[in-house]
Amino acid sequence: MIMRLAIASLGARALTVGMTILAIGLSVALFLGVEKVRTGAKASFADTISGTDLIVGARSGSVQLLLYSVFRIGNATNNVTWESYQDIAARPEVDWIVPISLGDSHRQFRVMGTSRAFFEHYKYRQGRSLAVSDGVIMDDLFDTVIGADVAATMGYSIGDPIIVAHGLASFTEHKDQPFRVSGILEKTGTPVDRTVIVSMEAIEAIHVDWKSGAKVPGQSTPADVIRNMELTPKAVTAVLVGVESPLQIFSLQRAINEYTEEPLLAILPGVALQELWSIVGIAETALLAVSSLVVVTALIGMMATIFSSLNERRREMAIFRAMGARPSTILSMLVLEAMLMAAVGALFGLVLLYIGLIIAQPILDSAYGLWLPINAPTMREVWVVLAVICAGAIVSLVPALRAYRLSVADGMMVKT
């Protein structure tokens, strides 16, 4: 009966109670939303590269190697010679190997030279493969496959010509050897979306007329002459390696790191991603702190609402007292009310979260490559809801204690 009266009492103040519940609901939805984006971003981040056992590059730091080889951020300090590449490829542990050659750009996008094996072995988001949404994987020397963002930003379609610039943010272009868009990749949410992919040989081909990083003046080898040239790369920027058996990862890693011909570095992508996330992750903590403060603010708003209702409810409390309710009953009724509001608010927040997820999921996936799975509430989310209800009870103790004191002082006589 008390529960029913508490609900009826809340119903009688539907507008202010509704606003309070709305505020709590929005704050909880925000908090859980941030939480979702946070875990989703972390998962997407970790999903940037999967299925690759080792990344090999010139000796530098593991995060740096990961950044330039996978995220196309920053530059390699040095290259890996073709001889080293072949040595690694010849090792018995190696199941597959993919060379990567970076250094040139097209507008704001990096150009990456690689082999066809890249399309077979590069996996993202728990083993998904790259796929062309339009056209085919390059088969001509001057063909290129572009990422979804490149196509969307530049408005390219199959058959369009692309001129690759030498270096990054450079004004010297490889004008003599234009490429042709042969395929456009599906959106992956990884740096591949922002990459122009050409063959290893093509990287060699556009540098035929170049010596020591500068174009040889007046020299321009015709394309059909280049096609007949020996275009074996002299160096690669990084190497993706898959091993025969997971047991061999560490022995291969050690062997590469102790390679005597050249200083090399082999890293485990997962470990390096973790290392990188621990740097990026500071922002997530800040985000979480801000959104939890929003929840606290909403609860304090509820406390203020209860406070302001106390005066008009002294009569009501006097009736309860006259009928035999103890002051502690008055206190627990107010706490119960607050818990009801917090519970309804938190559940409303959960509903808002799911509505938001259903609306935002395809948008976030296509625009940012951020995949937020829609699951049943996790234990963590259930705990958040319970914590909000408990916090609601705790903050309501402040006005409830005041009501307690008032009802002791007033008894059943309120002179208003």
């Binding site: 009966m1 008390i2 029913r4 009266l5 009826a8 009492s9 119903g11 009688a12 009569r315 009501e316 006097a318 009736i319 309860f320 007292r321 006259a322 009928m323 035999g324 309710a325 103890r326 002051p327 502690s328 009953t329 008894g411 059943m412 006589m413 002179k415």
Partner: protein, 231 residues
């Protein structure tokens, strides 16, 4: 149940907040089935006396016996429960919880008084019967309290005070918000019920015209002394 419904002996109470205000009541009792009108102007200590009887405040000395139990010896929580069991309270006005139905309001004291609850076999039927006896529309018990006129609300308050037949009804100027005709009709209904159930009634008012209908009329100044220290 032994003892008179109400027996006050040598009670003295001093307000802790306002210095110098004190109330002493040497002797006041209400017999079983008796109706007593207590007349007094505002400021004569009526409210304080009612609070003492109901046990929301405790005298500094003396005894307040309700149905044979000295409530000054009870703890705060026990006094609250005792009040729920033994006393039906009717206020001047604003008796009802506005968000509750008539039924909710009438049954409210039973929630805090298990023994009184047991005396009522079918609470809803009892509430309906009381409403009918008090001239309230039969279908009204599920209506919201705010849907009623002030006179009707006061009658609901009577039904609430009577349910489960507590030995004592305390009414604090229940007619002051009513016009003369309604006052008379209200008292008719109230007396019909208290007589029927042999319930004692202590009603407080400042209106001496009501006196003829009661068994006994007492003046506040005859039974109580108030002292105010000059400030």
């Amino acid at each position: 149940m032994t003892g008179a419904p109400l027996e006050i002996t040598d009670v003295a109470y001093r307000w802790s907040g306002r210095s110098g205000f004190s109330l002493t009541v040497p002797d006041l009792s209400v017999a079983k089935g008796e109706s007593v009108l207590l007349l007094g102007e505002s400021g004569s200590g009526k409210s304080t006396l009612l609070s003492l009887i109901c046990g929301t405040i405790v005298p500094d000395q003396g005894r307040v016996c309700i149905a044979g139990t000295d409530i000054t010896s009870l703890s705060g929580g026990a006094r609250d429960k005792f009040r729920a069991e033994q006393i039906g309270v009717i206020f001047q006005q604003f008796n009802l919880l506005p968000f509750g139905s008539l039924l909710d309001n009438i049954l409210l004291p039973l929630r805090f008084a298990p023994a009184r609850r047991k005396r009522v076999s079918d609470a809803t039927a009892e509430a309906t019967a009381l409403c009918a006896a008090l001239g309230l529309p039969a279908d009204a018990i599920y209506a919201k309290a705010t849907a009623l006129s002030v006179g009707q609300q006061q009658r609901v308050a009577v039904a609430r005070a009577l349910i489960g037949q507590p030995p004592l009804i305390i009414a604090d100027e229940p007619t002051s918000a009513l016009d003369a005709n309604s006052q008379s009709a209200f008292l008719d209904l109230l007396f019909a019920q208290t007589t029927k159930h042999n319930t004692s009634l202590l009603m407080v008012s400042h209106d001496p015209r009501l006196g003829e209908r009661f068994d006994r009329v007492i003046q506040m100044e005859d039974i109580a002394q108030i002292e105010r220290a000059s400030v």
